[in-house]
């Protein structure tokens, strides 16, 4: 019987769905180390583009299809899916050191004190800029820039004839693509998705000011084809020297400062996310996490893998093989305490601070019925975010004006909220 079980165990194959971001690609490469030390467990990878990944894992888990044993999901999905009992509870061993996970990140993964996913990397938002271009134009990035200042800088460093664009921002539609940036932009301009009673506030003056800023910055100083650019596309543009500034996830730091992946590694400066008229508001807190769907038949093996991939030991393994600058950021306090990391990643303490102060439940200009920093923590947000994201993208190509776009977004969000029973 014992041999039988061992034989059955030897056959266990975990299907892992993950996103095609740089850190995940490294995890996939290094996972052969895991297979060496766990000969009974085989790994099968399904690596997908962000929007496609969301589509695949959501349909898989919602229909109980059971195609995956491990899913890469965000802190948006974890609480919603845990409440729907779609995720398996996790019980990491004591030596995993749960307390080492940054509290802001840990909170996003627990429901009623129970943990449902483990963080692979976490991010907030920051401003990257090219120190050489700033120097050439005689500019200095302030310690805490405003959106007005950023706009002025973008105008001065844009050099279209040499394909250098003052500012790169996400324009690819998707609730986790352009709307992640746009939501944090709108928050600091004093706007928000909903007021109390789930009243959509998208046609408000604050949204108009924010989107006007966004459209005019990208049209005048942005790269062509901005509506196709998401995180990865902008990363490639910045790393190959096409962007003067880029406001995006802090996780890009590790890739932009890595000379192996970036042609501008020695010319990158960084500053906090700019402030708009309201100046405050939640900014951005995202974590990519590994979770096990309740339908998985290999829960224990899956947990063994995800505790390995999110452990301190894994961080050390990446440091050994790829250098400290490439380690997954934003999750473990111990990473930030490591002198080698502090030395290799000049942005380390900056990112830690950004994550700790992102404040997904922080105050927006008016009271709000929802939580979330750069998203709205309700199941319908995937639909809303994608719909509105499409409408915002249309303003970039000049097909509709900002006013028209926001009026149409307000009306489509009102319809969806009515259809899903939030408002009548």
């Amino acid at each position: 019987m014992g041999t039988c079980l061992a034989a059955a165990h030897a056959e266990s194959e975990l299907t892992i769905a993950t996103v095609n971001n740089g850190d995940m690609i490294i995890m996939r490469q290094l996972s052969s180390e895991f297979e060496k030390t766990h000969p009974g467990i085989h790994l099968k990878w399904v690596t997908l583009e962000e929007n496609v990944l969301r589509q695949r894992v959501t349909t898989d888990i919602a229909t109980g299809a059971g195609q995956f044993d491990i899913m890469t999901i965000g802190n948006y999905e974890v609480p919603i899916w845990a409440k729907q009992k779609w995720l398996a509870e996790l019980h990491p061993a004591a030596d995993y050191d749960m307390q080492d996970i940054l509290p802001a990140v840990r909170q996003g993964l627990s429901v009623n004190g129970q943990i449902y996913a483990l963080p692979f990397y976490a991010e907030s938002v920051m401003t990257y800029y090219r120190t050489d271009l700033f120097k050439k134009a005689g500019l200095t990035m302030p310690e805490s820039p405003t959106y007005d200042e950023i706009r002025g800088f973008a105008d001065k460093i844009t050099d279209k004839s040499n394909q250098v664009y003052g500012i790169c921002l996400r324009g690819k539609p998707g609730w986790g693509e352009n709307m992640a940036y746009v939501t944090s932009l709108v928050n600091t301009f004093g706007g928000q998705w909903f007021g109390m009673g789930w009243k959509p506030l998208i046609d408000s003056p604050a949204w108009k000011a924010a989107i006007n800023w966004y459209v005019s910055a990208l049209r005048e100083d942005g790269p062509p084809g901005a509506t196709s650019n998401g995180f990865n596309e902008n990363l490639a543009l910045f790393a190959s020297g096409h962007c003067g500034m880029w406001i995006d996830s802090t996780v890009a730091g590790g890739l932009l400062f890595d000379p192996k992946q970036s042609q501008v590694a020695d010319k990158v400066g960084f500053a906090p996310s700019p402030k708009g008229a309201y100046g405050k508001g939640p900014t951005w807190l995202w974590s990519w996490n590994l979770a096990i769907p309740a339908s998985s038949k290999h829960t224990e093996d899956a947990q063994t893998f995800i505790t390995w991939a999110t452990s301190k030991e894994y961080v050390k393994l990446v440091a050994e093989r790829k250098g400290w600058v490439a380690v997954p950021a934003g999750t473990r306090a111990s990473t930030y305490k490591t002198p080698e990391y502090q030395k290799a990643a000049p942005f380390a303490s900056f990112v830690q601070h950004a994550i700790e102060t992102a404040d997904p439940n922080g105050q927006t200009a008016q009271p709000r019925p929802y939580g979330g920093a750069q998203f709205v923590g309700i199941p319908q947000f995937q639909a809303l975010g994608t719909q509105v994201g499409q409408t915002i993208a249309a303003t970039l190509s000049g097909q509709v004006t900002v006013d028209q776009a926001l009026a149409s977004a307000q009306s489509s969000v009102t319809r969806t909220m009515r259809q899903s029973g939030y408002s009548h």
């Binding site: 959501t58 539609p173 062509p224 995937q382 994608t386 509709v400 489509s412 899903s420």
Partner: protein, 294 residues
């Protein structure tokens, strides 16, 4: 009496042999159809299982009153008509041209037909990333080489660009069918016309074009069926955008089902698409039948 008794067993044997296949085909198409119809009247959202029950005509009402729906119908029409015009017009022209004897004709024929063998996803990726990418693409480099600012086609003219990509894929099919038809034209007829003093244009107008009418009808019918459901090219290049500028009915249904996870709404869209496809099919079959009988 005797004759019927011998025929009947044969017929029933035929039925008996055919029925499993017919049954499977029926189940194959009727079950999904019935399920789509059923879901289209239900509240069914994948990400919100708390929302359940009978939705009445809500799904239809929300879809039909959605401005995106009208836009998607219009885009579907533009795509079908545009691609048909380019592929049939261009196809006829190329067919006549390739019927002439010239050096390297064999190679030229293979070249013109080759896009037909490229998968839609691959050709869309090729056009998006290799040819039309505003920074790294071939077109962009060519424009910059002569000091011009390249146009970002997919962002500025999404519908026209997709039409161009799809036409590039379908032109070879039209050429293939029409070239075969041109070649079947009796050379004596052309010879007689030439001797009567008809020029190239008159020959084309009065002899070749009428001769091609059946083949053109076939091309139109087959292409229309495929063009109504163009998806891969849109999904890869523009994802229906910017806004809904390049969203056709097929993409709208996909977006409802798999981006917004509203299975009920998507099913309603599916039912409407089936109705529209049937209307178009009935119209086409009548038109084709008339033309083929003539």
């Amino acid at each position: 009496m005797h004759a019927t008794t011998t025929v009947r067993p044969k017929r029933s044997a035929g039925f008996a042999l055919l029925s499993p296949a017919v049954l499977i085909l029926l189940v194959w198409s009727i079950v999904p159809l019935l399920l789509t119809l059923w879901y289209s009247f239900r509240n069914y959202n994948l990400v919100d299982p708390t929302l359940q029950g009978f939705a009445g005509i809500n799904n239809y009402w929300y879809l039909l009153t959605d401005p995106d729906f009208l836009q998607s119908l219009l885009n579907t029409l533009i795509l079908v008509v545009g691609v048909l015009a380019i592929s049939v017009g261009g196809g006829t022209l190329l067919a006549v041209l390739y019927d002439q004897d010239f050096f390297g004709r064999g190679i030229a024929r293979v070249l013109v037909i080759s896009p037909f063998f490229v998968m839609p996803t691959v050709s869309a990726l090729l056009w998006k990333n290799l040819m039309l990418h505003p920074i790294y693409g071939v077109y962009s480099s060519m424009m910059r080489a002569v000091g011009l600012t390249p146009i970002d086609w997919l962002q500025r003219f999404p519908m026209a660009t997709i039409m161009m990509i799809v036409a590039w894929e379908w032109l070879p099919f039209a050429v293939l069918i029409l070239l075969t038809a041109v070649q079947s034209l009796d050379s004596e007829q052309k010879e007689a016309a030439r001797m009567d003093g008809a020029g190239a244009i008159a020959q084309f107008r009065y002899i070749i074009l009428p001769h091609l009418s059946r083949a053109i009808t076939v091309v139109v019918m087959i292409e229309t069926i495929y063009l109504l459901t163009i998806f891969a090219e849109i999904s890869v290049t523009t994802a229906g955008g910017p806004g809904v500028a390049s969203t056709n009915l097929a993409f709208l249904i996909y977006s409802r089902a798999l981006l917004q996870f509203d299975v009920g709404g998507a099913s309603a869209g599916g039912v409407i698409a089936i109705v529209i496809a049937n209307i178009v099919a009935a119209f086409l079959v009548r038109a084709v039948a008339r033309n083929l009988e003539a």
